[in-house]
Symmetry: D2
Subunit: 335 residues, 4 copies
Amino acid sequence: MAIKTPFRIALIGAGRIGKVHAMNIHHHPESVVQYVVDPFGEAAETLAATVGATVAEPETVFADDSVDAIVICSATPTHSDLIERGLLSGKAVFCEKPIDLSIERVNAVLQKTAECTSPFLLGFNRRFDPAAAAMRERVVAGDIGNVELVTVISKDPEPPPVEYIRESGGLFRDMTIHDIDMARFMLGEEPSSVSATASALTSEAIAAENDVDTACLTLQCASGKIAVITNSRRASFGYDQRIEVHGSLGSLRTDNVPATTLVLERAEGVRREPPMHFFIERYADAYRLEWQHFIDVLNGECSPSATGVDGQRALVIADAAYESLNSGARVTIPA
Amino acid sequence: MAIKTPFRIALIGAGRIGKVHAMNIHHHPESVVQYVVDPFGEAAETLAATVGATVAEPETVFADDSVDAIVICSATPTHSDLIERGLLSGKAVFCEKPIDLSIERVNAVLQKTAECTSPFLLGFNRRFDPAAAAMRERVVAGDIGNVELVTVISKDPEPPPVEYIRESGGLFRDMTIHDIDMARFMLGEEPSSVSATASALTSEAIAAENDVDTACLTLQCASGKIAVITNSRRASFGYDQRIEVHGSLGSLRTDNVPATTLVLERAEGVRREPPMHFFIERYADAYRLEWQHFIDVLNGECSPSATGVDGQRALVIADAAYESLNSGARVTIPA
Amino acid sequence: MAIKTPFRIALIGAGRIGKVHAMNIHHHPESVVQYVVDPFGEAAETLAATVGATVAEPETVFADDSVDAIVICSATPTHSDLIERGLLSGKAVFCEKPIDLSIERVNAVLQKTAECTSPFLLGFNRRFDPAAAAMRERVVAGDIGNVELVTVISKDPEPPPVEYIRESGGLFRDMTIHDIDMARFMLGEEPSSVSATASALTSEAIAAENDVDTACLTLQCASGKIAVITNSRRASFGYDQRIEVHGSLGSLRTDNVPATTLVLERAEGVRREPPMHFFIERYADAYRLEWQHFIDVLNGECSPSATGVDGQRALVIADAAYESLNSGARVTIPA
Amino acid sequence: MAIKTPFRIALIGAGRIGKVHAMNIHHHPESVVQYVVDPFGEAAETLAATVGATVAEPETVFADDSVDAIVICSATPTHSDLIERGLLSGKAVFCEKPIDLSIERVNAVLQKTAECTSPFLLGFNRRFDPAAAAMRERVVAGDIGNVELVTVISKDPEPPPVEYIRESGGLFRDMTIHDIDMARFMLGEEPSSVSATASALTSEAIAAENDVDTACLTLQCASGKIAVITNSRRASFGYDQRIEVHGSLGSLRTDNVPATTLVLERAEGVRREPPMHFFIERYADAYRLEWQHFIDVLNGECSPSATGVDGQRALVIADAAYESLNSGARVTIPA
């Protein structure tokens, strides 16, 4: 049996999520990390050494025809340029969300790369969570009949630093956008309007930035289907990530995942372990399966689960949610 | 030990919920069903025979000074008059919700009975559900810190007949009103605005009545606390009744209650029993504890947990929710 | 509809379990407590007042032809005589387990009452626990195929006083006997041998009485089916009552029942409520359904679920378990 | 930062479990698979290609001083020789259980290698299951007080082929031995006697081999602590792997692990996913953490969790269990 040459990957961004992807690429039999790019030399050096890659400048990466794909894990403001350069140079691109915080910029990227034929996968990692993926499969299989009500519960363990908040685009564009994608993934129909309610309750710093940290978005589709998203930036017990889909024949629910099933029973009550603390642990399997999906895409076996259009739609909805939050009115989501 | 004379109760309405209360009154050592009143003679006769009561006309009941309290389980349009007659005749009153479907009528009842000193308990039965009561206790005890987000999930197993729908006042005044009361119970602060989203998805008959069956209400308080209510008239698997309260230090959740804990594990999966089918089974304990509470009220040991004002506030919110549903805007709840 | 005259019941023993049965008899529409018998006059007076009964001596009860059935909740040494007198006087008898601690005496009772035609129900209450009853129904329905391995886990919240231990007949005859009955109930075949392992671990007082408090019994049937019973007299978190039945096509499990479903999630873990503390709470439904079963028996609608023979078989097995404990060998259970 | 040279590992046996270890070694930053040894050339070639190793004969491996450790995943009859050759050649050894099916041979291995200073880890993989490890930590921390009763439930999804059964040493030496190790791990004290009950229920082939497939072992320690192991070779719903430890202050329980938390609620019941099917999936994390432990051992950071003596003790107990099964008597476990 001839062993296929593995795909050669250039990783841009050697931070927390960059390391996760680097290890998944490195451990996959069909991919190798060829280059690591990061403005912080030391992080790049360390990560490159771990996975046997070369530290490089972006120019080297885009000029190297042997690079099959680039994986973009750098700071948000760099995403759109890198996506364009990657796709226009004929490489496949896997980019962490978002494409950009500005819908105009996102639209420009989509327009500019419309003719590109190499695949583009946007990193909506939760689509690859085994529970969410199994839920979607059952929805599509009709196990619960017609979808009527989707509920996405999403709470982070603690608010990010205020510096992060300031550059984040706000709760809806930074955090809720994942939940909007999940709602779209389960609804099977584009939402046509959105209504938003939100408050700043967890810290004065967030209020001082005119941002919110506790919110409820209600999406409605033309057919009447409803999706409800509830968010908080602070759940003392860990990362609260649950989805429910209610349909005409039944309901589907996913629950939080504790580190182990261990139960301690004592006079004062029955104690289970809290949910895994945050996304790196909670979605470790999702990131691994996301990479497997990208390999399948590179092998031409399927098309990307989440594309530029998915990023665009989620941002359009987040923008409309801000409009609703400001006006107090239900807002029609632009087509 | 001298045995106290039990409270003499007149039960008005011998239908499904009337029977539930009749048995709880009958089984309680401190109460007896003295009279049963019902326009349908046969139902009254049967129930009266079961609990050793006399069938009577309303006039007899209100004229009998030995009657300590009346329990109103008759049709909604009769509630307000009976409450007034009961309280004005100096009897304690326990009335199933609602006081009336019209806020003007409710206001009139409250005004007319403002000077009455006998106690009035409105039947928001879920306050007495052991799980909800324990949740509220922990909220009050500060176990989760400041309340930030309350979620009430409430789905009926199947839609009522269209004749019922027609007289019901609509989803928000008929069904959601219980969830509004739960939200108020857990928030510890009056909501100041409401936003509603709703659809008719479960049957064409409901749509034909211009009613809705699938809904999300978002309540917000002046302090920023949010409550989210999701409703459906149809959950194929049974009565879906869950509450979550998220606070600065943690979360509380209640879950559905299956008939038994039995689990069947076979190759095709792990099967548990569905939630109890509807309110008669699910809230059997709540009805029993509600009656114990009313006995405590009659004994002067506490004041009613849910009063006319609670009924009034819930209806004001339901009315505001309809206004939001019609206008698409967040609506300020009248004080 | 003619209302049937309710069955007239004489309750013998006004202690803890006597009160439970008294209230179930009193609340059932087809039964009344006619007499309460107890050597402790005050307990009898109080209970009789609560249920509208007369305090009487045993002679009065057995001589009164209007008494349909006697319910025996008195001290164990009185059971066998009362059963005999009840059945021989033509009354139906419901007796709390055991018939007697001596198998010779049990055999004598069965022999002496062999010709009696009035029904005898032995109070193996767990057969009426809704979860155990549903489990048994599914076993009989073949949902798990052939039964292969039955596991009964049974732990009391705390050891009884040493005075109780001294008169109890020992762990196997006092506590394990319930689990032996459950095992028989689920096996669907008589066990043919037993092996016992036991220790005294929870208190020195139990060891000083030559009794044990922590044990494992292994029963085996001629067909090879195995049942395993594990016991402890002390579970700090409450009454641990679980059953598993493993078969060729699947498994069935019941779990402990907490007071409510309330979950508290905080940084230190997820806390649920402990199991209900002891049998009075845990088996409240079972006692109520057991009484309904006895009413059905009195109405001729079914034969008693647990009879004198069931009590006899369980005691024979407990005795054999002691023989195994003493000899260290697997012991053949006498037919 | 200087990057340490990774440990060079020779893997012997390229079958199912060999592949699991090969990938864990390959993915660990501190280890590389240097050699793959397997009599079946093709399996060795494929696996070696995947991890960048060389296919070699045993002689090459033992003669190569650059090999730090050997990992033995070959057929059971080869274990003891390979362990001896590995340890005597100064290499660290990680061997899948068992050392041998004959206690004489095991004793000989231990004696022959008694002077060897390189570490030996026996592959009792379940010690590294995160739930079991967390359970053991809490037991040691005293969270449940004194251990009184350990329960190990262990059922395979389906019986192995009869050819496997024939060479397996029988249920107790092949399968129960893992559970015996778990019991020893949790008891914190050597069991002093054992009583065994067993049947052949799942297939006639197993009975024809004079083996059993359904069993209960009861271990007792000098202090009175009891451990109960229940086994079946066939659980239609998947791999049933649960442990309970009951102590003076509380209990600990682990539960089965489904592939995801997904719940499907329909009219016919609430359906969860079955437990993971078998050990490769269920203990994937355990195998990974076991390898991390071996790396820690190689780095001198800790001593092996499970040693040759643990293998020896477990086999002595399994042998005594057979003696009990044959004689019907409780058997004292040789020191």
